[in-house]
Amino acid sequence: MAVVTHAAPAPAERPTILTWLSTTDHKRIGLLYLTASFLFFLFGGLLALVIRSELAVPGLQLVDEEGYNQLFTMHGTIMMLLFATPAAAGLANYLIPLQVGAADMVFPRLNALSFWLFLFGGLIVLSGYLTASGPADVGWTGYAPNSRLPYSTTIGTDLWIVGLALTGVASILGAINFVSTIYTRRAPGMSMLRLPVFAWTILVMSALILFSFPALTGALVMLLLDRRFGAAFFDPSQGGSEILWQHLFWFFGHPEVYIVALPFFGVISEIIPVFSRKPIFGYRFLVLATILIGAYSFTVWAHHMFTTGAVSGPFFSIATFIIAVPTGIKFFNWIGTIWGGRLSFDVPMLWAIGFLYLFLTGGLTGVILGSPPLDFALHDTYYVVAHFHGVLVGGSVFALFGALYFWFPKMTGRRLSERLGKMHFWSWLAGFSLTFFVQYQLGASGMARRYADYPADAGWTGMNLLSTAGSYLLGLGTIPFLVAVVLALRRPADQPADPWEANSLEWATSSPPPHHNFTSIPPIRSERPVFDARMAARAGPEVTPS
């Protein structure tokens, strides 16, 4: 049997561009995902600022109608598919092998391929900006027949289709890696019910990706065939169905919102116990709730289609109400974790607490929208916009920032400035509230979404101005974070393995971890092996962990 040896990488080597292009290390790939998705986030955020600037007062001041349609299409596409989904994948990439005690993913090269497909796909979507007719303008939901010829003719939409097909494949390949790694690479002693809650959320997220993304990919291929190859899948005048696109899109689209929610629920489940100094309350129920949310996410898709008149209101209404219950279970378990704890308000915990308030309102308004008669009044208005920004920004983005502050020391060996972090958090909490709470009223009083302009006599100008002011605060509030990152990376790496006194296995190795992750792993007797080891060490060497 041939013995194959490999030169160990010199520890002090600085990574070059070639290092990054050729890496198969899940930690580097995770950082690539996080960086790329954050850059997409900044660009998508700029688009949002232009949208809000346009809507501040009536009249078209900055863009024309076509330009506005491109704005909200690209903003939505970038935020959902080029930011939120890959950011979750980036966190998962970095953390899953560490949290289960493995040296890497099961398929490291496939992992790298996932990242490159995502990056190239995203760049192809954005390349619409380089064309004469501009980027896609069909809404991130791309409803047919509007997205077919002869109604939407620009090449920007074709590039959007192709780019998203690539990013979809990237997500599917990533999901394969996550599921395989979680199932087969757990360190001895780590049963499934000792996995960190974050790992469970990634497992369910991956199952959702595996079973929902093909619907999107299929729909995109069908749309491309309709547009460029004479097919008629979505043309009723030729025997196709315009409703079919919506079924396909939302069969993907609703699991997609749980794909970008569940990992961030998992982040909250990691942060709150650490800063409450207690174990997560109701671990098994959290796991069960995660599985139920994932399973039920395939039963609710047509609550986005109540106004089509083509779907069963009662079926999808009861399904939407049912899925609220496990989400509530998670909420109460988070509060149960805080209850009786000893809280410290480090920046990650601030984001987690902000999440609790904001996701609460976003979630409740989602239940309201799940009632078809109410949806008849509120669908396609700013009420829906306020709802989904509540859960996606107040929920997922707040949790993501919490995650970044929490795991930044592990990833880089440096801690982000607490002062700048607090500036970031408070301006985002205020900015978010100002931007989006008025939008509930705007929507309820009839302001439609995807409108480039609104009448001056509708009485909406004041609220729109407030909302725009809030969005500027969000934009400004991002600056402390960027400054904090730059400053931190300039400092020497000085963080210990476990700066927060945390619970899961990634805190059992150095910050940042070595190439192969672990030189030794503490005994695994619960979902908090690092906590158990710390307690055992304090109790003294003669006491064995129970």
């Binding site: 009723p236 671990y283 089509t308 109400f321 509530g328 009786g340 000893r342 308004t365 009044a377």
Partner: protein
């Protein structure tokens, strides 16, 4: 100098937010029988949602303030892992609440979607990029308009009005905010809606499904008048040419 200050500030911010939330999201009073039904359901659902929201927000605020780490440092709190009784309670109660929501929802939905009553006026509505045509098939009358301000469609008040919705191109959606109502206008799947306006007046309508460049520029006005006035208007329209001249986009 302790951590008390920022946390108390947090409490006040949260309270303000909660109050702001309660005030937000007021629907106009529905001007149709169905709209009133929807408005009542909305009020009821919001009361329940607000109650749940305030309850949970107070729980969060209380626990965040009450269980702050004090100066006594590092002692671990009781490492409670869970409580089966609580899990049951906070599973069963939300289930009961949403079951109640569902029952109320289905009742209202059935009434809103019903097309059983004999209509006092029947219209064929065609949406297109970017305007509307309203035809009165039994009456040989049609009104049509492109862009702003769009056509004025006249219907009798206090009688069921039935509209059959078809698009000649992409998916649009007929929305009348003061009716608390919208329904998609599809090129394939035809929708039939029926409503009874209770107050005479002019009600603004708009397109509520993204349909291309001028999606925001295809409004219309629905004018509800007494039956006598409606009949007179129909007679006038029949005498004039069938289709109203298209109004210009500004």
């Amino acid at each position: 100098m302790s951590r008390r200050r920022p946390v108390q500030r947090a409490g006040r911010v949260m309270a303000a937010g909660a109050i702001g939330l309660l005030a937000a999201g007021c629907l106009p009073a529905g001007a149709t029988a169905e709209g009133r039904d929807i408005g009542t359901l909305y009020l009821g659902v919001n009361i329940v949602a607000a109650a749940v929201g305030v309850f949970v927000a107070v729980l969060i605020t209380f626990s965040v303030l009450r269980f702050r780490r004090r100066a006594d440092g590092d002692a671990l709190p009781a490492q409670t892992r869970g409580n089966l009784g609580l899990e049951i309670v906070w599973t069963v109660i939300p289930t009961v609440i949403v079951a109640g929501l569902f029952v109320a929802t289905v009742a209202v939905l059935t009434r809103v979607d019903s097309t059983e009553a004999t209509p006092g006026a029947e219209l064929d509505v065609t949406a297109f990029r970017w305007g509307w045509t309203f035809e009165y098939p039994g009456e040989d009358v049609a009104v049509s308009g492109i862009g702003v301000p769009g056509p004025v469609v006249v219907v009798p008040v206090d009688e069921p009005v039935r509209m059959t919705l078809r698009s000649s191109d992409v998916i649009h959606s007929l929305m009348i905010p003061q009716f608390l109502f919208k329904r998609d206008v599809n090129p394939g799947h035809v929708n039939v809606i029926q409503f009874t306006v209770e107050e005479p007046g002019d009600y603004g309508g708009q397109c509520a499904e993204f349909c291309g460049i001028y999606h925001s520029q295809m409004p219309f006005t629905l004018r509800a008048v007494e039956r006598a006035e409606y009949d007179a208007w129909l007679a006038e329209e029949r005498e004039a040419v069938a289709v109203e001249p298209a109004s210009e986009r500004p």
